[in-house]
């Protein structure tokens, strides 16, 4: 078994109204910032998955992203493996 760390980035789907992004764009003037547009606000979930291999871990992350962490009607997600995060851990019994 190994440990894999992922980040799941959830963002509003293209075409969906993003009120938060709009509000951020609207407030740029107050900060005196120009040249910023197309702001989309989402959320990022970081987690660690114990699995036999990377493919299995990725499948778990994908499932979590699709079924729990994002709303497929209005959100899109991307699973991002986090660098240097995988490590081997001992099995529950008969450790190697």
């Amino acid at each position: 078994m190994s440990r894999y760390r992922y980040a799941i980035n959830v963002t509003p789907k293209a075409g969906i109204l993003d009120p938060q992004g709009r509000a951020v764009e609207g407030s740029l003037g107050h900060l005196g910032i120009t040249g910023v547009s197309e702001v989309r606000v989402g959320r990022r979930v970081e987690l660690t998955i114990d699995a036999v291999d990377a493919a299995t871990a990725l499948a778990t992350a994908d499932r979590l992203a699709a079924e729990l962490l994002s709303n497929p009607l209005i959100e899109a997600y991307a699973v991002e493996p986090l660098a240097g995060a995988s490590s081997t851990i001992s099995a529950a019994a008969g450790a190697d």
Partner: protein, 529 residues
């Protein structure tokens, strides 16, 4: 599309848009015998949908009593308005958002609240209260709990942010709603009678102004069959059928709209809901007996690449359409910009009674610019007041029976508790049952005190609000009786009205008016109709 699919017979476009063959004939009739083009067909399909046209229910609804003392605005306007004396009037209405809530409970409920609020403030009334009447299936079912959770958070999320208190409502569980939850939202507004603003577009030569959020692809769903070749492979990310609400934008919209009305800056105001710009323009023109020339390019869009039909039927939320005289345009624009709302002149009122759409812009005189192309022309009435009306067949379902008339003894086969059951156990079971237990966990998710007018909020039979500056109060309730209604629709409806009247009267209030939200199945099924 595979070769096999291409070889199959393709359903005619009108059927894929939900327009029946006889409806297509009726459409051609209203267009002087010619075929509608694709854009026009899309507009008809939306305007002649049950939701927009009431084509199956109009003949029946017309039989309801609508006149009475103090009625300032009755059916046909965005909301009913009744005078309460002292120059003040109350606007109120209840509306459903069932299917969207079944698909995406949070946004479905949120946009349901947004829509009904717009119907209130578009008349010139400041919304002062919301009540939500909710019906779901078996609460032991995980999906039901998911729906309840999403809907309640959606009602709260929108109403709380907009600053309108949710002061009452109902939450009822019944197996008959398992696949079809009901989310009905009532809104009440207060206004000075003299500020009553109707949803008409009078005065040929006047400007048609759109303000509020930009137009995107929200709610297009069924008409997506019209999308051009790039999208036929149905990339789900390209077509959000769900409408997403922005209560913050709605709050700005309320303030801007009420300011425009207060300052006498608009000749007419209509909110955009089902049917989007098509509906708003055709309804306002039809009411005023005018037409509207729509400048498609001028409509502010959320993203590039929207096709004409998408712009015209989009159900993007938080938008309003006003009729404005040219000399007031600069002030109207200043008001909208101050509230941070996109605003644009999207057309001109004409005297030809048609909704005409051009691409290529309008000239200074308000006609199509040189080189502009007219892409649709439909008489406004054909889309609205002259929409098709169906005489549906009603047939009582064979499995039902009439409810026993009051006073008669029940038949022995009625399922009543046996004698000998432990009354304490029965009472405990009743108190713990889903329909009698406390709703505190629901209504504490609502802000019921914003506005400082709430005298009696959720948890009472009726909500009581005070009217600042007067010694008057307003009382409101929602009631429904689905169990009797399923067996005997007439009696169920009568009992609902009676219960609502009782809930209002026991507070000491005199009932002023009733608004109804009737939720039924497919009207083409005789048993449902």
């Amino acid at each position: 599309m595979t070769l096999a699919e291409a070889g199959a017979v393709v359903e005619p476009l009108h059927r894929r848009l939900g327009v029946t063959d006889d409806e297509l004939e009726a459409i051609k009739d209203r267009l002087g015998g010619r075929d509608p083009n694709d854009l026009e067909l899309a507009m008809f399909s939306v305007m002649w949908s049950e939701h927009c046209s009431y084509k199956s229910s109009k003949p029946l609804l017309r039989t309801l009593p609508t006149a009475g003392e103090g009625v300032v605005a009755g059916p046909g306007e965005n909301a009913g308005v009744i005078s309460i004396g002292g120059g003040l009037a109350v606007a109120f209405k209840i509306e459903s958002h069932n299917h969207p809530s079944a698909v995406e409970p949070y946004q479905g409920a949120a946009t349901g609240v947004g829509g009904i609020l717009r119907d209130i403030f578009t008349m010139g009334a400041r919304p002062i209260a919301v009540l939500d009447a909710l019906r779901f299936g078996d609460p032991a079912d995980a999906r039901t709990r998911h729906l309840v959770d999403g809907v309640v958070r959606g009602v709260g999320g929108y109403g709380n942010c907009v600053g309108v208190p949710t002061v009452g409502g109902e939450l009822v569980f019944d197996p008959s709603y398992q696949g079809n939850p009901l989310v009905n939202v009532m809104a009440i507004g207060l206004m000075e009678e003299r500020r009553l603003t109707l949803a008409a577009a009078p005065g040929p030569g006047n400007l048609v102004v759109l303000f509020g959020s930009a137009t995107g692809r929200d709610g297009i769903g069924g008409a997506s069959v019209l999308a051009s070749a790039t999208f036929t492979h149905d990339d789900p990310s390209k077509r959000p059928s769900v409408q997403v609400g922005d209560p913050f934008a709605e709050k700005l919209l309320i303030e801007a709209s009420l300011e425009l009305i207060e300052r006498g800056l608009v000749e007419g105001l209509q909110d955009l809901g089902a049917g989007g710009i098509t509906c708003a323009t055709s309804e306002t023109a039809d009411r005023a007996g005018t037409g509207i020339l729509v400048d498609l390019d001028a409509i502010p869009r959320r993203e590039p690449g929207l096709e004409p039909f998408e712009v015209m039927i989009s159900e993007s939320q938080e938008r309003m359409c006003a009729a404005v005289t040219p000399e007031k345009w600069d002030t109207v624009r200043e008001v909208c910009e101050r509230w941070g709302l996109p605003v644009a002149i999207i057309g001109r009122i004409t005297d030809d009674g048609d909704i005409a759409i051009v691409t290529g812009g309008l000239d200074a005189a308000g006609g199509p610019a040189a080189g502009a192309v007219e892409i649709a022309r439909i008489p406004a009435a054909a889309l609205t007041s002259d929409a098709i009306v169906h005489d549906r067949v009603a047939e009582a379902p064979t499995h039902s029976r009439a409810a026993p008339a009051p006073g008669l003894t029940d038949a022995a086969t009625d399922r009543l508790p046996e004698r000998g059951m432990d009354p304490g156990a029965v009472l405990a079971a009743l108190l713990g049952s889903a329909n009698l237990s406390s709703r505190r966990s629901v209504f504490t998710q609502y802000d019921s005190t914003v506005g400082t007018d709430t005298v009696a909020g959720p948890g009472h039979g009726a909500a009581v609000l005070r009217v600042k500056g007067t010694t008057q109060g307003l009382v409101a309730t929602t009631d429904g009786n689905q169990s009797v209604g399923a067996l005997d629709p007439w009696l169920g409806a009568a009992l609902s009205v009676a219960e609502a009247t009782r809930n209002v009267s026991i507070t000491g209030a005199r009932p002023l008016g009733v608004t109804n939200c009737l939720n039924y199945g497919d009207p083409t099924r005789p048993a449902a109709f």
